[in-house]
């Protein structure tokens, strides 16, 4: 029942709506189509105004989610379950990310924004909200 909400309809969902939407990465389903999976992640990144990719059960991802939600953003969430998934996801994202892949990762407007550090720093300096508005993740 859970799906990633594509970009266009996420516009409608953002107003004070604190529903989380999950796309769980089930290992069994993806054995057949690793190519498809590759596209999937990249598609999600480009289709969502804000997407958080993190490890399941990680409290850091939790912090990212809560922070974004408190700002009124409805971020898409992609949870990476086990070590193996992590490697696959990391490899895929290498094409659009320079350097090491560190979870949790935040993508805003289809581009890699950074991790929790960058999120916090940008929020404290007051630059995060304008950025989110620009990417269409927030409406005044």
């Amino acid at each position: 029942m859970h799906q990633a909400i594509p970009y266009m309809s996420s516009h409608n969902n953002n107003f004070g709506n604190i529903n989380e939407n999950y796309y769980s990465n089930k290992k069994k389903e993806n054995h057949a189509s690793s190519k498809g999976e590759e596209k999937m992640i990249l598609n999600m990144v480009s289709e969502n105004a804000v997407i958080v990719i993190g490890k399941r059960g990680c409290c850091m991802s939790h912090v990212v989610k809560r922070l974004l939600q408190s700002l009124g953003v409805n971020p898409a969430i992609h949870e990476v379950e086990e070590e193996k998934d992590e490697v696959i996801v990391a490899r895929e994202l290498e094409s659009i990310i320079e350097g090491n892949v560190q979870f949790p990762m935040v993508f805003i407007g289809g581009k890699l924004f950074g991790g929790l550090d960058r999120l916090m720093a940008t929020h404290i300096s007051g630059e995060l909200v304008p950025l989110l508005k620009q990417a269409g993740a927030l409406w005044l």
Partner: protein, 357 residues
């Protein structure tokens, strides 16, 4: 005719005396920093001006007397000038020597205080480990983690340096130092805070629970503990009254900063809650049999602790960006004094005279 010439005489006499005074002042300046050499020729210019105006005057007699006066005055001027300049130089050197001696005394005193504190700490640890009155047991109940012991010692030094910086800032704000010097003090204090955050992170790697519980802090500070540190919103509350008067733009910026801090704090608190829950569940489920070390848990806690320090640091940075340098200085002073008082509170309350039982 008389009055203009009288006028000239008196003003001439004044100009003879004035150059003496001025030569001496400028002479000193010339000797000590070489900057005022330009002013010395001015005397000659001034004299020349008077001479030329004198020559335009009809009375030659007056010109003659003023020249003689000038020649007689010149020889003693040289000697006086030289002697006074030498005196000044000697006095200056003496002052510099005294200053160096005082500085040496102060740093020795500081070192003495540090050594005394370390002695006290070690003595207390010895008592704790000794346990009973005469027991000579070898089992150490005190902290044996060398990383933590090192951290505690470093922390003592950190506090001493902090106290020194606070006094320096207080004096600076009471005197009228330039903005540039004030900026140096502000940067110094900010760097000092960065230092304690670094130390905490390193200590967390050896014993994360120790850092999370704020064990190195005084009991009063621990009362306000939040994820091993201090709430950024608390920081802003303390600083609030210190930074008035504010411009409208500043007020807006500070309000926004307060709101951002609160949101960051809430998110971090929820992350901490989740971590606690995970840990509790794991312990209940028997995953930590005999306290086996689970790296992911420790890493998560270390990251949270580091984030708290990071958020505090970023908050201070953002404050300093919003405020003038003088306001920032007042803020840092207020912050430092607040923690000083909080630390003092602990020992005052625990050492208060009690009613005899």
């Amino acid at each position: 005719m008389n009055s203009p010439s009288a006028q000239f005489v008196s003003s001439r006499r004044m100009s003879v005396y004035d150059p003496i005074h001025q030569i001496n002042m400028w002479g000193e300046g010339f000797k000590s920093n070489g900057n005022l050499s330009a002013s010395i020729p001015l005397i000659d210019e001034a004299d020349l001006k008077f001479d030329s105006s004198q020559s335009e005057d009809a009375s030659h007699g007056m010109l003659g007397t003023s020249n003689k006066y000038e020649q007689e005055a010149n020889r003693p001027i040289d000697k006086i000038q030289r002697r006074l300049a030498q005196n000044r130089e000697a006095a200056r050197k003496s002052r510099l020597r005294k200053k160096a001696y005082v500085q040496q005394l102060e740093s020795s005193r500081l070192k003495l205080v540090q050594l005394e504190q370390e002695l006290e700490r070690v003595r207390q640890q010895g008592m704790y480990m000794g346990g009973g009155l005469d027991s000579n047991n070898m089992c150490f109940a005190g902290p044996v983690n060398p990383g933590i012991a090192a951290f505690e010692m470093e922390y003592g030094h950190w506090v001493d340096e902090q106290n020194r910086q606070i006094s320096e800032m207080r004096n600076a704000l009471n005197s009228h130092i330039s903005d540039i010097e004030l900026r140096m003090l502000v940067d110094g204090m900010m760097n000092h805070y960065a230092e304690i955050y670094r130390m905490k992170s390193a200590a967390a790697k050896t014993d994360v629970f120790y850092v999370m519980s704020g064990m190195w802090k005084t009991t009063a500070e621990r009362f306000f503990l939040w994820i091993g540190g201090f709430r950024p919103s608390e920081l802003l509350k303390i600083l609030g009254p210190m930074i008035e008067p504010l411009t409208e733009q500043q007020r807006l910026d500070i309000d926004n900063l307060g709101q951002s801090c609160q949101q960051a704090e809430d998110a971090l608190s929820q992350g901490m809650e989740k971590l606690r829950q995970t840990l509790a569940d794991s312990v209940a489920a028997g995953q930590f049999i005999e306290g086996t070390y689970i790296p992911q848990m420790a890493t998560a806690m270390e990251k949270l602790e580091a984030l708290v320090s990071f958020v505090n640091q970023e908050t201070l940075q953002q404050m300093s960006r919003t405020l003038t340098i003088r306001q920032s200085a007042r803020c840092l002073l207020a912050l430092g004094e607040y923690f000083q008082r909080l630390r003092a509170l602990s020992s005052l309350w625990s050492n208060r005279p009690r009613e005899p039982a």
